[in-house]
């Protein structure tokens, strides 16, 4: 049974794709933008805050100003990049 999605639901699926790209490029993004707020859309970083020294909410506003009017905000993922390597939750090796 195919379910008809609304525009907002379709945008959420675009966000899933944005997030997948972000996760796949995380190490590279941490090296380039540690502690900065970025916007991701369509396999690209489309906006970056000016400095990681600014408070996160100020960085967020800078990024929103850069993307507003250019992109549908529902389809842009805005988030903060780690300052440090991604923490890997420890798992024991699974049984053979």
């Amino acid at each position: 049974m195919a379910v008809e999605l609304t525009a907002v639901q379709k945008a959420r699926k675009v966000q899933f794709a944005n997030r997948r790209w972000f996760d796949d490029h995380l190490d590279e993004l941490i090296a380039k933008y540690p502690g900065q707020v970025i916007a991701v859309h369509g396999d690209n970083v489309v906006a970056i805050s000016s400095s990681n020294a600014l408070r996160p909410e100020v960085q967020y506003r800078e990024v929103v100003e850069q993307v507003q009017g250019k992109y549908d905000l529902d389809e842009v993922m805005i988030t903060m990049v780690n300052r440090e390597p991604v923490w890997n939750v420890w798992f024991p090796k699974k049984a053979e």
């Binding site: 379709k10 967020y60 805005i78 798992f91």
Partner: protein, 474 residues
């Protein structure tokens, strides 16, 4: 009008609405911030529960929040008196009632499997502006021990990462993580079911720290005096409450991860990005006119802090009273992770280091910053002013402060670096009970309050006096 026991979230919401404790929000709201901000605004003012009926992009859905905020509201949901909530619930815990399995259930009116089980169909609100993707905050995770069948339930956070993919923040100090380890040993993925929009008692019992092997569904029966109706999942043997609004079924992958965060967690700050277990979604079941429940998290106080703190306190009171005589009352200061315990002055004096022993017992039931032990001289342990009075008058740091260094704790507390490490906390115990004979002369002189009878009369006179102030144009 529905009454206790409230066997579904919609019955509970109807009760709140009919009692003037719920506001319907019929204006269109955006999942990117309106719901989170209104939930925050309401709890900051001890406000009503909210029921959103017009969700942008999600026709037919409703979203509720705030229905379990506040001691009075929780006491009503638990069928107890607000003043004796912890004591009554602790007593009820002694008589568990197992759940009853049924074959049909409202939570299965719609069944979506395979690609149709798409998380984009569920209106999950964002909590913070830097979240990236939204998180399910009121998802009760169900997992079953593979050998014994023991089912454990607990509220966990799930990042919505794809149409059939979620991150699960499994806390490494908790029982469900221990069960997941058993699946890893066996080389099998762990079936999991996430309940959204359960009745209020299911949410509350899921927050209770119970012994290994004890299913929280039995505690639901203990509190309500009747068995919880449960139904088997479509894709596993897991049992879920029949009256729930939405069930997400899946399995926790063995060797795949999702990146969790950043999320504004209960410890106040955003979390770091972390690779955590991945849940692969296989099926979504729900009601025809579904309701999504949103638990606001982040900067305290929040509904999440309230339900967690309340049930922690019930379990702690039960544990401490079983272990020691003379434990009178307890209060979990819900976001400071500080527990105040009130003990009998006479018993405290009769034991060696009684406050320290009680403090250690409290630490066994959960991860906290500290325990403050006071005696019955403290008029109200829920009021910081009275607690601080006791510290001021009875506590000497050189002999009454105990520090326990480096105790395991959630990774989320930002007071220690956390990336890639186990979380830990130092803990403290403050003994603010009256010192034993030899030091007690000062306390025998009594406290410098106005007479109690006069204070009670003053409380009655006060509203009228304030009214006359308003009449004078102030």
């Amino acid at each position: 009008m529905p009454e206790f026991p409230f066997t579904s979230m919609r019955d509970w919401l109807q009760y709140l609405e009919e009692n003037g404790e719920l506001v319907r929000v019929d204006q269109e709201v955006d999942l990117r911030g309106h719901i989170s901000a209104l939930a925050y605004t309401s709890v900051r003012s001890d406000g009503p529960a909210l029921l959103f009926t017009n969700i942008k992009g999600y026709p037919g859905w409703k979203v509720a929040t705030g229905a379990m905020y506040g001691r009075e509201r929780l006491a009503t949901a638990l069928g107890v008196n607000p003043k004796t909530l912890y004591h009554e619930v602790a007593a009820k815990m002694e008589q568990p009632v197992p759940p009853m399995e049924v074959s049909t259930a409202p939570c299965k009116e719609v069944i979506l499997k395979g690609d149709d089980a798409d998380l984009a169909l569920i209106p999950v609100p964002f909590t913070g502006e830097l979240e990236g993707v939204p998180n399910i905050t009121a998802g009760i995770s169900n997992i079953r021990e593979p050998d014994t069948g023991w089912q454990n339930i607990a509220v966990r956070r799930f990042g919505v990462k794809g149409s059939q993919s979620m991150s699960e923040f499994l806390n490494r100090t908790q029982q469900d993580y221990m069960i997941f380890m058993r699946y890893i040993e066996k080389g099998k993925p762990a079936p999991v079911a996430i309940i959204i929009g359960a009745d209020p008692v299911t949410y509350l019992v899921s927050q209770t720290k119970m012994p290994i092997g004890f299913c929280e569904y039995d505690l639901w029966g203990a509190i309500t005096g009747m068995p919880l109706e449960v139904v088997q999942c479509e894709t596993s043997e897991l049992l879920v409450p029949a009256s729930a609004e939405v069930i997400i079924e899946g399995e926790i992958a063995l060797d795949e991860f999702e990146v969790d965060g950043p999320f504004p967690e209960f410890e106040l700050y955003y979390t770091v990005l972390a690779r955590v277990p991945k849940v692969k979604v296989k099926c979504i079941t729900m009601r025809k006119d579904p309701l999504y429940y949103y638990l606001h998290m982040g900067a305290p106080p929040t509904e999440g802090h309230y339900i967690g703190g309340t049930m922690f306190a019930c379990a702690q009171l039960r544990a401490a009273q079983r272990a020691f005589p003379g434990v009178l009352d307890i209060h979990f200061h819900r976001w400071a992770h500080i527990v105040v315990v009130q003990v009998s002055k006479e018993v405290a004096k009769a034991w060696s280091q009684f406050a320290v022993q009680v403090g250690f017992e409290i630490f066994k039931t959960g991860a906290f910053k500290g325990v403050i032990v006071v005696d019955e001289d403290c008029e109200d342990i829920t009021n910081w002013e009275f607690v601080l009075d006791e510290i001021q008058c009875k506590f000497q740091a050189s002999k009454d402060l105990t520090i326990i260094p480096r105790v395991v704790h959630t990774e989320l507390n930002p007071s220690e670096p956390w990336a890639g490490r186990w979380g830990w906390n130092d803990r403290f115990i403050i003994d603010a009970t009256e010192p034993p004979p030899g030091y007690d002369e000062g306390y025998l002189r009594g406290k410098g309050y106005p007479p109690k009878w006069a204070r009670e009369e003053a409380e009655k006179m006060w509203p009228g006096l304030l009214q006359s102030l308003k009449g004078a144009g102030r």
